[in-house]
């Protein structure tokens, strides 16, 4: 009985999480614009690739997200390293300042950035959009790199120096590989935040740089086109594929390491 309930519970939870996505996928094959099932079609996928507005907003979104997350990976790692090396007082202040940016309601960030850009007479466009995205991406990276730095053995850096590295080499050869997982996690998080973001993009994008969420939102007066379902399906499949591939490679690598280790001990 208990077993049944645990299983049932898991099914319910996963249904709750994934049912909406599967319904969306099903409707991307629906042969009608309405929410009533009417037969199978691949037309929306064809239309999707023909719809210039959707494709260009998608490319804008990806372009902005990739640039913003890469830039914030560099800035965030540097920032985290700096904060890590600070004295207690400074550490607290800067860490909380970073948290604050993350906790701040998006709408506040969005409006204040818009005011800032207006104040400096910047025309909204790619530049403002990317700057805005970097603003909320950097804290994400900082916050995921900091714990890695804390976990790292304090003497690692000094040991590298002792063994003849100069500070730059010590950072790149000893510290960076150690905190790399944190940087990658942070960057990927930043990437997803950036792709997701609606509120801040809404206030800072210009006539040439509309992102996907804004485009979808603007469709709501008329009917949201099923092309969006098709696009979401594709994005979901891509993310799923990446996840699976990364995991498979991870498992293989672990096996490989285990094999090597056992071979080593046998000797």
């Amino acid at each position: 009985m208990k077993k049944f309930f645990t299983k049932f519970y898991i099914v319910v939870v996963f249904a709750f999480l994934y049912l909406p996505i599967f319904i969306l996928i099903a409707y991307s094959f629906n042969n009608s614009k309405s929410g009533v099932w009417n037969g199978f079609t691949l037309d929306w996928y064809k239309e999707l690739f023909r719809n210039e507005l959707i494709i260009s907003s998608l490319l804008n979104t990806l372009f902005v997200a990739i640039i913003a997350s890469l830039v914030s990976a560099v800035l965030g790692t540097a920032g985290a390293f700096g904060i890590h090396k600070m004295k207690r007082m400074g550490k607290t202040v800067f860490k909380n300042a970073t948290y604050l940016q993350n906790l701040n309601p998006e709408i506040v960030t969005g409006i204040s950035l818009m005011l800032l850009f207006t104040f400096f007479k910047m025309t909204p466009g790619y530049a403002t959009l990317i700057l805005a995205h970097i603003t909320f991406c950097v804290p994400t990276v900082v916050l995921s790199v900091l714990p890695k730095l804390r976990q790292m053995n304090v003497s690692l850096y000094e040991a590298a120096m002792d063994l003849g590295c100069n500070p730059r080499q010590a950072f790149f050869k000893a510290v960076l590989p150690e905190i790399m997982p944190g940087i990658v996690t942070g960057t990927l998080m930043a990437l997803t935040y950036s792709i997701d973001d609606f509120v801040i993009s809404y206030f800072t994008s210009g006539p040439d740089s509309q992102t996907l969420p804004t485009t979808i939102y603007s469709m709501t007066k008329k009917r949201i086109s099923p092309e969006i379902n098709a696009l979401s399906t594709l994005l979901f499949v891509v993310v799923l594929a990446i996840l699976i591939i990364v995991n498979v490679i991870g498992v293989r690598k672990e096996k490989e390491e285990a094999r090597r280790a056992s071979a080593f001990y046998k000797k």
């Binding site: 309405s34 040439d208 509309q210 008329k222 490679i249």
Partner: protein, 421 residues
């Protein structure tokens, strides 16, 4: 490190697949307009009155920023005409096209940031407000020869004095009631009262934008939908609160799904969109209420700060080419203010407006600031009213989660206590 390389490799593969898909899918049957070497326009699907007019922009590297409603231009899907593509090929002018959702969004974007748009499409009341605040340029009608096609029944100097020098209408339409014949008695239809009818309690929808909702309530009470009388507005507010008792929900685009899947039976909406719902569900029917209803138009305007006013005017002129007007009218399904096009198009008789009906229609006017505020605060008052049921449900949920929280804490304590032994 290998792991990251593989991530990047996956990305590359995916991108490659996507481009491949793009080429497979987009290699389509449709002829694309092309510009031949001598700069003439070929292979397009439209004819224009005077091709000569559009040639002067060629080679000048102009980009127009167009800001329009979502899904509001014929875009080449379902074998329709791709209006922007045709315009680019014809003139050599590049167009960046972006979309907004409400008049208020448009206003906010335009008034508070340095965005440079060349063409915007506000509804009449918002166009008036923008003109009053000096945000729009006057049009130079010498550059828009196709102005001769404007339907004077929709747009004339007397009725539209406020906006006359600044704009030309893009589309127009009217608000009516769509209902499901399977569930709604024929005897009950004809008036706005249907939206208040208790017989259909829980199956009635209402606009979630204040101007349209108040318009309906005011019309039902026999007032103008531009009422500035505080008592009338109060009465309308009460009436909307009363409507809330039979209302299922406040909607905009959700109306499509709800009506088509028959989870609601009665809703007010824009005639052109109702037509597309009726196409998807044959039980749906439509009428214009006898008390009068809102007739609206969306206007093509050039905001101050446009750097390419002449090219923007060419764009407006292009939208007034007969073929383009027909294409847009068929795509959007709203009425066209273009005389030659409306002669060629036969409007669906279910939503067609007879002269007698035209008499009953009224357009929105811009309201003075304090009246606007009164409408806003009344709307908030209506929408933020929780009914008893909702309060009870919220209380139960809060109580339950609190109980769960406490029991978890207690359980933990107990467990810890046991371990300590």
């Amino acid at each position: 490190m290998k792991k990251y390389i593989s991530i990047i490799a996956t990305f590359v593969v995916v991108l490659a697949l996507a481009t491949l898909g793009y080429f497979i899918f987009s290699e389509d049957e449709q002829a694309h307009p092309e510009v031949s070497e001598d700069g003439t326009y070929e292979g397009g699907r439209i004819t224009v009155d005077n091709p000569e007019y559009y040639t002067k922009f060629r080679g000048r590297d102009i980009t127009l920023n167009v800001y329009n409603w979502g899904e509001y231009i014929s875009d080449g899907s379902d074998d329709s005409v791709d209006v922007l593509e045709e315009f680019k090929a014809l003139t050599g002018i590049n167009v960046t096209y972006t979309t907004f959702e409400t008049n208020e969004d448009l206003y906010a974007k335009l008034s508070s940031s340095n965005s440079r748009y060349d063409i915007i499409v506000p509804s009449e009341y918002m166009a008036t407000r923008m003109i009053n605040e000096g945000m729009l340029e006057k049009l130079n009608f010498d550059n828009i020869p196709n102005r001769k096609y404007v339907d004077t029944a929709i747009h004339n100097k007397d009725e539209n004095a406020d906006v006359y020098d600044y704009t030309l209408p893009y589309t127009w339409g009217a608000v009516g009631v769509i209902y499901n014949t399977k569930y709604v008695d024929e005897a009950d239809i004809g008036s706005w009262d249907l939206l208040w009818n208790e017989k259909y309690s829980g199956s009635i929808l209402m606009f979630s934008n204040s101007r349209d909702a108040f318009g309906i309530a005011l019309k039902r009470l026999g007032y103008s939908l531009n009422s500035i009388d505080e008592n009338e507005i109060k009465e309308a507010t009460e009436s909307l609160k009363e409507q809330q008792n039979v209302n299922q929900s406040y909607v905009m685009d959700q109306v499509f799904n709800k009506m088509e899947s028959e989870s609601a039976f009665i809703a007010p909406y824009y005639a052109g969109d109702c037509l597309s719902m009726m196409d998807n569900n044959e039980n749906l029917a439509f009428y214009y209420p006898e008390e009068g209803f809102n007739r609206f138009a969306d206007y093509l305007c050039i905001p101050k700060g446009s750097k390419n006013k002449e090219a923007a005017e060419a764009f407006i002129n292009f939208l007034y080419e007969t073929d383009v007007a027909i294409a847009n009218c068929e795509y959007i399904q709203y009425f066209t203010p273009h005389t030659a096009a409306s002669e060629l198009i036969e409007y669906d008789e279910r939503i067609a407006l007879t002269p007698a009906l035209m008499e009953k229609s009224e357009t929105f006017k811009a309201l003075p600031g304090e009246i606007n505020q009164l409408y806003d605060s009344s709307w908030i008052e209506i929408r933020s009213r929780l009914d008893m049921n909702e309060i009870v449900i919220v209380a139960i949920i809060l109580g339950l989660s609190f109980a769960v929280l406490i029991s978890i804490t207690v359980l933990r304590r107990v467990k810890k206590g046991k371990q300590n032994y």
